[in-house]
Symmetry: C2
């Protein structure tokens, strides 16, 4: 029997279409992947090609090596095709009935490794730690900039997830506004807090940890689970167990612990589903709400195994053809 | 310079990324399309294969022909892999912290033509009229059903839009709840009404018709334009010029007029962009809000020329690499 589940944090409904349900194995990539070399002379992110990208903002590199030359192991650059830009004046303007503002902001690329054919799930732990440390560093740095209201860190893995560049990288966009979608999420979380005096995410984690049937992995500081109302097959949330609304509040030690669970979960996805395409999003409160009692930062992993169609785009309700409980079971071992 | 535009009706922000902007021609499909035959013996929607689908709910067919046999020109059937189903008990249930309900509802397929290789943009007008009349008929019929709160009509065209079946068809899902996303849209529209005493969509149409720079086509009753804050390249709205919150209020005459503009717009998309994949969604107020002053039904066409990635999924803010004004110019002639 199909059922309609509610995500209590976001209030979004999801149809778990059991009639169409597939077994976890059915989602495994069928196509043979073309092997990717460790170095690609045509890749702008590979070492030696630094001049083909805008100049680096920051990098972790061997002592004695030069800026924008090889010797780095993590490198942050402005996105060459930036969606928003620091040089634009932040001015609200009406155009008759319509409202617009300058596309002010920052759009950066985090090149996660010099090696062309790695991904977060199969790098050494130390390297993933460096990536998480740099997420934290850039987040804190950009949060302090004038007029920046929110920093969104994300990662697109594979063509179906909207990327054409194979070389491992994440991106971040720092924006001068709080997106409507996120404002709605904050409102829903506030309402829950009004009614219960607790953070809805904290209550969700407590429940997931008690019943364990959707938990994939628990560590000292984090838990990874497939949400009760996952919008997509193999949707995963990685959530800090302790209450914390803003990502910028984490310590360097917590960033390293995040690296551990993130790498482990992505490694299992990689192995058990033959390297599926996915998007990763770091959800966090807007900067000014970083210390609120009602919100909670977390990482969402959205494998792109199905295509959202007209119904999803029009209603915001997703049809998920797999059971979160089975996802957890499949990825647990 | 990039700019951030607000859709005043939905309050959603869109980044118009002019640095990445492409000319309309750049979106033309490059791949050679494989010719599709007018009849496919393996297609469950082709005439003669009626027994391979669930039994028809209603059809328009030649006098003297039998139910579930050839002779129809529009045929409505339950979706074989229904996301929701009328046989499920509508019961809210908590599972500890979590909330779910039975997947009650209707999920139907509207087979738009017996001919396998047509689409709404290249059928005869008479046939598209029949499709719009059947949209109206099913909408009214299902709106009257107990516990149905909203009826969503949509169409997925092409693989990138989430369909694997080539045969021309639309779908509808009648649901026992108002999706959170739509509740938020209603709230935003209500707020606008509070401030202005007018429907935000009506005001938007007035403005578009005055300045004309985003208008693609205007008829006696409808206007097609590329919205100021279009989320995707070649996004198009087709809106009734007269205020009307609920699709079920339209007359049969209006349904025919809708068919004309819909066919014309889809035909231009087809010709000028070499048959792009797209989703079509009929947005309408929930049934009980069908006569409200603050909402307006409309059709949204979302070509799938780009892939929404982590940033869009996480923030709800889309990056659009084309200018709505250029879209209108391109599709106008």
């Amino acid at each position: 029997m199909p059922e309609i589940r509610q995500n209590r944090a976001t209030k979004e409904w999801v149809i778990i279409a059991t009639e169409r349900a597939k077994r976890p194995d059915d989602f495994q990539a069928r196509e043979e992947k073309i092997p990717v070399p460790a170095f690609d002379p045509d890749c702008p992110f590979c070492p030696g090609n630094e001049s083909r990208t805008p100049g680096e903002i920051v990098s972790f590199r061997q002592a004695g090596t030069q800026k924008d030359k090889p010797g780095w192991w993590v490198r942050i650059i402005p996105n060459k095709f930036a969606a928003v830009s620091p040089g634009v004046e932040l001015m609200r303007e009406t155009e008759g009935f319509f409202l617009k503002m300058g596309g002010y902001g920052r759009h950066e690329v985090i090149i996660e490794s010099p090696q062309h054919n790695l991904s977060l799930g199969n790098m050494r732990l130390k390297q993933v730690e460096e990536v998480c440390l740099v997420y934290r560093e850039r987040y804190i740095e950009l949060s302090a900039e004038k007029d920046i209201k929110i920093v969104i860190i994300f990662r697109n893995h594979g063509k179906a997830a909207g990327t054409s560049l194979v070389h491992p990288h994440s991106q971040l966009i720092a924006m001068p506004l709080v997106p409507t979608h996120i404002r709605h999420l904050l409102e829903e979380a506030t309402r829950y807090y009004d009614d219960h005096g607790s953070c809805v995410f904290c209550d969700m984690i407590k429940e997931e940890l008690e019943f364990k049937k959707r938990v994939i992995l628990e560590t000292e500081s984090f838990v990874a689970f497939s949400p009760f109302a996952s919008q997509v097959p193999f949707g995963i949330w990685i959530v800090p167990k302790e209450h914390n609304a803003g990502f910028g509040n984490i310590t360097t030690d917590e960033a390293k612990k995040l690296a551990f669970i993130l790498r482990e979960v992505l490694s299992r996805l990689h192995t058990k589903l033959s390297d599926p395409d996915y998007n990763l999003v770091l959800h966090t409160a807007p900067i000014r709400d970083s210390n609120e009692d009602f919100y909670h930062w977390y990482i969402q992993i959205l494998p792109r195994l199905t295509t959202p169609a007209g119904f999803e785009l029009g209603s915001g309700v997703y049809i998920n053809t797999s059971l979160p409980e089975e996802t957890a079971e499949f990825l647990k071992g």
